[in-house]
Amino acid sequence: MTQENTIAARILGELIPELEYAAPVLLERSERGDPLVGTTSPTDLGFETGSVDSVLLELFKSLVPYVRTILGWGVLIVIQGWLSAGRESRHHDELVATLNALIDENGKLRQTVERIAELLTRRDGATVTAGDVVESIAEATYHLGERDGAHSCV
């Protein structure tokens, strides 16, 4: 998985918590244009996990281009910079502030983040703000930084 895909998957997993672990596989399939989950019929004595909510998968699919867009408009560079910085110099608040500044400068980027927030609000049934989305991106970056091979990924 490329570095950008890893970051995108992590952000998507943060935005849709149900798919936190499944996001990398789903993103790969989404990129290839494959169905996200196959049609299956359960067999006996197998740990069959049931079906994945199709609305959730639709949300995932609809979020992918927006996440790609925000990464393309400078967010990826900010995240990469934060990840490649020394462990001691990484501050979560600093990252949020940098991302917010970037979003304030770029109207289209702000619109995209707001659109993501809108889609999430619709799904959650509770208000999700652009600030929440930025927090989620920062949280995803933070978790990526926590990983053992973070530097090799960047």
Partner: protein, 922 residues
């Protein structure tokens, strides 16, 4: 005659099996929905058999090929082993750890049906994580190669973490083992095979439609048959959705139940960005990830069709939420089950009848009466056990000390079952008659038969209320194999004596052959006579007691009493072997049943002098119900147990309350304090302990009385005990003679009952009122005799006697003698499920038997696991006993934490309910 006898024995056997199945112990909703699905699958199988018969009759190649292909696919799919090839890859560490832990848990307990457990990694297209049940209880946990890698990936830092991955692995393995314990995998495979195979009928219907269009003069019958089967398939597929979901739900519940509480909490931890809206649990995230690991192939038309006929159950979100929330395993839904069960029984009855008629018609010309009799037999055989099963499953999901005898709900369930049955049977009947697929019984006969089923269902409502409904709590038996003397001889007597003799007597009287059923009223009246005679012999009224000629007396383990021609005799299973005891009980039935048959036959002969045969039969048949009603007016001591408070004076309830208090004091002292307070309030009832005072003709109340006295001591209710003393002393004086307790005049003293009486004397502080030391001397002598000449059918009396003697500074017999005696008992080498392990642990302590203690360790661990896997909030006594046994062995480790949490919950709820019962009554 033999056929009829066999039929009756079969019905009785099914009913007894269902009633003795104790559905109140079963958690959740799996068993009913499993049965409902299986009935539907059998209806489909029969429909296919009918299709083959129609194909042969009409020479329809389409029908023949389709039905044959369906059978072939069903068989192949059912027998196919979908195990993948074992891969070279090493089993993941987390799976190994779980399997090793379970192996240790199951050590020495083959009773669970799992003799050995191993884990392997497999390749191919097998399920991600699954188990295979090889022959002789060999269970293999199979992990697909990619899932093994997935598990290892999650142990890294970018995954869920090593701890959560290990807990999840444990959860999945326990989930799969739960399927084995539920026994649902066979039903699942059978129903799935049948449903998927029946998809062939879509092609069959298309071919039949094409033949109608393209071939002139083609018959419409194949299309009609195919359409009917497709309709049946759609109905069964809808029912199957529920079965699939419930099966997973119950396995999840069992797995969650057996996880240590800390692990369960970790798996149910919610983490994510959401505020104000619940985040998903860790379980949901992992299950979703596991799900997407399967290749996302678009399987094409056939795969979609299969997925449509046999879909996934609940979605992952619902499933994971329920796994965390269903603390009682899911509330029963008796009315829905009754509706579905009624529908399935109607479909199955009519499918079976159709198949039978199609097969029989070419060979014989069935008269309407014969075909109607066949219809009645089929409908009764199918609907009677099913209706009783539904009416039994109205019990609540948890144990409750409140009265939960839902008469109203049982009636509703019965009515719903009947209506669903009648509607589905009528629909298929009309369909079959309209399309003239086979010669069916005429409409009036059908209507009468369906109305007769209403009587069967009504009887079921009564039977389930009288014998089957329990409020939960469970039981542990003093004599684990008491059925050998109590139940089996009675059933054998009915099958081998009552039915054949009734048939012979009816032929002798000339009131009809066995085919005409003239013997049924005679048999019914004879049996009712026996029951009423037994009721009279147990009555509190001396005159009624004197009249009863034959009876099973009011006795419990280990001494059973019988009356034969006004003479009482007793079988003490602590002195007599089980085989001899069973033979004696059988001899009683062989004498008692003919006595009543001959009596009723003579009565009927006298009646025949005045009335015609039909009137005599009708009078006898309905008279039997009238005589049975006498049971309601015969005075007995059980009436003293009426009322919400007094009903808890039952032996099992008292035992549960006593064990719950003891266990809660270990696991949850705060809850134990609240339970203690509620029990103290309850014990202050002015009417106590009158219902439990023993009498010479009924010494069995000694057992619950002892527990009641013990509860009063443990709750510190000394004033209450002081108030009871006079009454207890008075009653004990009536049964203690020569410092012992015997069950009747000229009977040898019973060590069991003497020990119980002496313990009451001791614990109620009545030692000054009785020659207590002499009683102890007698117990020592009896114990000595017991070890010398007694049987190992029960150990309760040994434990109680040793405990009492030790408490009063008497060493009793040499512990080596007791150890040798005990080791000869199968109750020690292979303890039964309904046998107290705490008692065995106490015995090991009393006799300083280190070997027995060591042997009991794995048995207690595996039983605890089994108790948690069953229904720990309902089959409570089993869990309490295991917990107390573990405490006695000093094994209250992490494995017992889950039980400890449940016991705390139970103590809280019981204390609340008990307080409500007490305040409601005062």
């Amino acid at each position: 005659m033999l056929t009829i006898s066999a039929l009756i024995v079969l019905i009785v056997w099914i009913l007894v099996a269902i009633i003795r199945d104790h559905p109140e112990r079963k958690p959740g909703n799996l068993a009913p929905i499993q049965l409902i699905s299986a009935l539907g699958a059998w209806a489909l199988v029969l429909a296919n058999a009918s299709a083959i018969a129609i194909a042969i009759r009409d020479g329809s190649a389409i029908l023949f090929c389709t039905a044959t292909a369906t059978f072939a696919i069903t068989l192949i799919s059912f027998l196919r082993d979908d195990a993948g090839r074992i891969a070279d890859r090493e089993t993941p560490k987390s799976v190994k750890l779980v399997v090793d832990d379970l192996k240790q848990l199951l050590g020495g307990a083959p009773r669970l049906g799992i003799d050995s457990l191993e884990a392997v990694v497999v390749g191919g297209r097998s399920p991600g994580i699954g188990v295979a049940v090889a022959q002789q209880g060999r269970v293999i946990v199979r992990v697909r190669r990619d899932v093994a890698e997935w598990l290892e990936r999650h142990q890294q830092k970018d995954g869920a973490g090593a701890a959560v991955a290990a807990i999840f692995t444990r959860f999945t393995v326990l989930h799969e083992l739960a399927h084995v314990l539920n026994g649902d995998h066979r039903t699942f495979r059978f129903v799935r095979s049948v449903l998927i195979a029946n998809l062939v009928w879509i092609a069959g219907a298309a071919a039949a439609a094409a033949s109608l269009v393209f071939a002139s003069g083609a018959s419409a019958t194949p299309l009609v048959v195919a359409g009917t089967i497709i309709l049946l398939l759609v109905t069964q597929s809808l029912v199957a959705r529920r079965f699939i979901a419930e099966r997973e739900r119950l396995a999840d519940w069992r797995a969650m139940q057996t996880l240590p509480p800390a692990d369960a909490a970790r798996l149910l931890e919610r983490r994510g960005r959401r505020r104000g809206v619940p985040n998903p649990t860790e379980l949901e995230k992992l299950m979703t990830d596991l799900k997407v690991q399967a290749p996302a192939r678009d399987g094409g038309f056939v795969s979609r069709l299969i997925a449509l006929a046999w879909p996934e159950g609940d979605d992952i979100h619902q499933r994971s939420e329920r796994a965390g929330g269903d603390r009682a395993g899911g509330a029963p839904r008796p009315v829905l089950w009754a509706a579905l069960m009624g529908m399935q029984c109607g479909l199955l009855s009519m499918s079976l009848l159709l198949a039978a008629m199609l097969v029989a018609t070419p060979w014989i010309d069935p008269e309407p009466v014969i075909s109607s009799l066949g219809m009645s037999a089929i409908m009764t055989l199918i609907s009677a056990p099913a209706a009783i099963f539904c009416e039994l499953r109205v019990d609540p999901a948890r144990m409750s000390v409140r009265k939960v005898k839902h008469t109203g709900r049982r009636v509703i369930v019965g009515v719903v079952f009947y209506l669903a049955f009648a509607v589905s049977a009528l629909t298929l009947y009309r369909f079959q008659v309209r399309l003239d697929v086979a010669l069916m019984p005429p409409w009036p006969f059908f209507a009468v038969t369906v109305m007769m089923i209403a009587v069967v269902v009504g009887l079921g409502i009564w039977v389930s209320g009288a014998f089957g409904i329990h409020d939960g709590g469970g039981e542990l038996q003093t004599m684990p194999r008491s059925s050998w003397v109590q139940v089996f001889p009675l059933l054998a007597g009915m099958a081998l004596v009552l039915v054949p003799l009734s048939v012979v007597a009816s032929q002798w009287l000339g009131i009809g052959s066995f085919r005409s059923g003239g013997w049924v009223p005679l048999m019914l009246m004879s049996f009712v006579g026996y029951i009423v005679s037994t009721g009279m012999a147990r009555s509190t009224n001396p005159a009624l007691r004197m009249i009863a000629p034959m009876a099973m007396l009011d006795t419990t383990a280990p001494v059973y009493g019988f009356r034969v021609f006004w003479r009482d005799f007793y079988v003490d299973l602590s002195r007599t072997t089980l085989a001899r005891g069973a033979a004696a009980a059988m001899a009683v039935q062989v004498v008692a049943m003919p006595f009543f048959v001959v009596g009723v036959a003579l009565l009927m002969q006298a009646m025949l002098g005045f009335f015609p045969a039909n009137t005599t039969l009708a009078v006898t048949f309905f008279g039997a119900f009238g005589v049975m009603a006498l049971i309601l007016v015969i005075p007995d001591r059980y009436r003293a147990y009426s009322g919400p408070s007094a009903r808890l004076l039952d032996t099992d309830w008292l035992r549960i309350l006593d064990a719950l208090l003891a266990a809660a004091r270990i696991s949850s002292p705060a809850a134990a304090d609240r339970l203690n307070a509620s029990l103290a309030q309850w014990l202050r009832d002015e009417r106590f302990p009158d219902a439990l005072l023993p009498e010479p003709r009924a010494v069995w109340p000694l057992a619950p009385l002892l527990t009641l006295v013990r509860l009063a001591r443990e709750t510190g209710e000394w004033d209450v005990l002081e108030r009871w003393r006079g009454r207890i002393e008075h009653s004990l004086r009536q049964i203690i003679s020569n410092d012992t307790v015997a069950l009747g005049p000229r009977q040898p003293p019973s060590m069991h009952w003497t020990t119980v009486a002496a313990t009451i004397v001791d614990e109620a502080e009545l030692r000054g009122a009785f020659p207590f030391e002499r009683m102890l001397d007698r117990i020592e002598t009896l114990l000595d005799e017991r070890l010398e000449h007694g049987t190992a059918n029960l150990l309760t009396d040994l434990v109680a006697a040793c405990r009492l003697l030790r408490r009063h500074g008497r060493p009793g017999p040499d512990p080596r003698r007791i150890r040798n005696f005990v080791r000869s008992s199968s109750l020690v080498s292979h303890p039964l499920l309904r046998q107290s392990l705490a008692e065995l642990c106490e015995l090991a302590d009393l006799t300083a038997d280190a070997e027995l203690r060591e042997r009991l360790g794995p048995i207690v661990r595996s039983r605890s696991w089994e108790g948690l896997q069953l229904n720990p909030r309902k089959d409570v006594l089993l869990v309490l006993d295991c917990y107390l046994a573990a405490a006695c062995l000093g094994e209250l480790d992490a494995r017992q934490q889950a039980a400890g949490v449940i016991i705390g919950e139970l103590a809280e709820r019981v204390s609340g309910e008990l307080m409500a019962v007490v305040t409601g009554e005062r």
